[in-house]
Symmetry: none
DNA sequence: CCCTATCTTGACACCATCTTTATGCACATA
DNA sequence: TATGTGCATAAAGATGGTGTCAAGATAGGG
């Protein structure tokens, strides 16, 4: 289900109507997780690894300030406070405890969404990029760069598409038909030859000895598999 | 001057009483710089290199949203909006333009200070210089200056936009459609030719041998990539 | 109003890539 | 041994992407 939504939002609020409301306005854009108490919220923050947390200060089991501090012990995920408390001291206390933003209820839906976007934007630029590596082969999907034995390899679009597919499913066997469908589309399901040619070209570029592949393993009669380190 | 204060705050506001007020409440904690207009604010942002900017949206000479966008062209310094505008649309517009926070006047002094602290806390360990250099090429995004082999290069607005996009994503491949969308807008997605012409012109200005580009690398079938030093 | 810089568009040569065709190899089976 | 199947590689033609020059079109400033 968490397929095309890029970011996860964790809502920690003890009032069911508010949880439902927030889920409704956010679920189109984000994957929403819900928690109804401080302790379950802390657990959810650890397990669901959200990209932003919306936290109500008035929880029955654990004070909101305490929730902020405990999360800040191990995570720098953006925390946006949603609270009925309007007093300036409350805001200052929450912000100084480690919160990133503070909205007083009631708040505008669009403003909340914009503040979530602003928080995500900030953390987006400081997250390390995903990198696949196995032996001498390294693939950086975020910058579309491939290196083998330290040398930069230039791949054609089709070759890169195949390699990207293999990297994102590293270690698993991808059937011929699966690769053909993903890279060429359903029209090429009966043309396994074009895949062999491209695998061959790909091996010539990234394998030190293309006739004895170290990285792209042939699974006879089934498909191909990318070797992983471990 | 007062070098014992760790952080610099730039205040951009056209009303003298507010500038004075902000200076009063902030100067104990921060080094405060003041600007009274949009253009002078932009200049001050480049010269004083503040750690946080307090910006009034209602400037007489340049719209506040525009100020945000121009700063975001080269800097990710936290921008906190201080405005009399209460409308949700104004907040959303400012936040989506790149602002980090939005306070409606009148605001509490302690809350402002806490929000400034929150902003500073987030950016404590990330201060990228708006300077790019690779080989003989140097780009200063804060002053919009480009030099190649020591000579200053004059670029057209479109050429600079492309180069800025490449610099802010240096090392990564930018697809044709991404560049077209950012520089020309979505209407030009089906006009890749205009991009090629501009890349060609750009290369003629910054590359020593435009037929063998050292800096702007073509990724055939995909897009372009700016070479990095490392 | 004209001049200049810039942007856009068209034409064309060139090159990379994709697909297809052809061939060889390994292995299993009759 | 003969034969078929699946896989790997090489090569060639077709296709489409890419770089460059140059000619209008447009806008902004003097």
């Amino acid at each position: 289900m968490n397929s095309n939504k890029l970011f996860r939002v964790l809502v920690i609020d003890d009032e069911l109507p508010i949880r439902r409301f927030l889920q409704t306005i956010l679920e189109n854009e984000f994957t929403v997780h819900l928690a109804e108490g401080g302790y379950s919220g802390l657990a959810a923050a650890a397990t669901t690894k959200p990209d932003v947390i919306l936290l109500d200060l008035g929880l029955p089991d654990l004070d909101g300030i305490e929730v902020i501090k405990r999360i800040r012990e191990w995570s720098s995920v953006p925390i946006i406070i949603l609270s009925v408390r309007e007093r300036e001291d409350d805001k200052v206390a929450a912000l100084d405890a480690g919160a990133d933003d503070y909205l007083s209820k009631p708040f505008g839906v669009n403003e909340l969404q914009a503040r979530i976007r602003a928080s995500l934007r900030r953390t987006l630029h400081q997250t390390p990029e995903p990198l696949f590596s196995c032996g001498d082969l390294a693939v950086d999907l975020s910058s579309r760069r491939v290196t083998a034995s330290g040398r930069e390899i230039s791949l054609t679009p089709t070759e890169y598409d195949i390699l990207r597919l293999l990297v994102t499913h590293a270690g698993k066997v991808l059937t011929h038909s699966h690769i053909l469908k993903e890279v060429w589309g359903v029209g090429y399901l009966e043309q396994p030859h074009v895949l062999r040619v491209n695998i061959s070209n790909l091996r010539r570029k990234i394998e030190s000895d293309p006739s004895r592949p170290k990285y792209i393993i042939t699974e006879p009669g089934v498909g191909y598999r990318l070797k992983t380190d471990d």
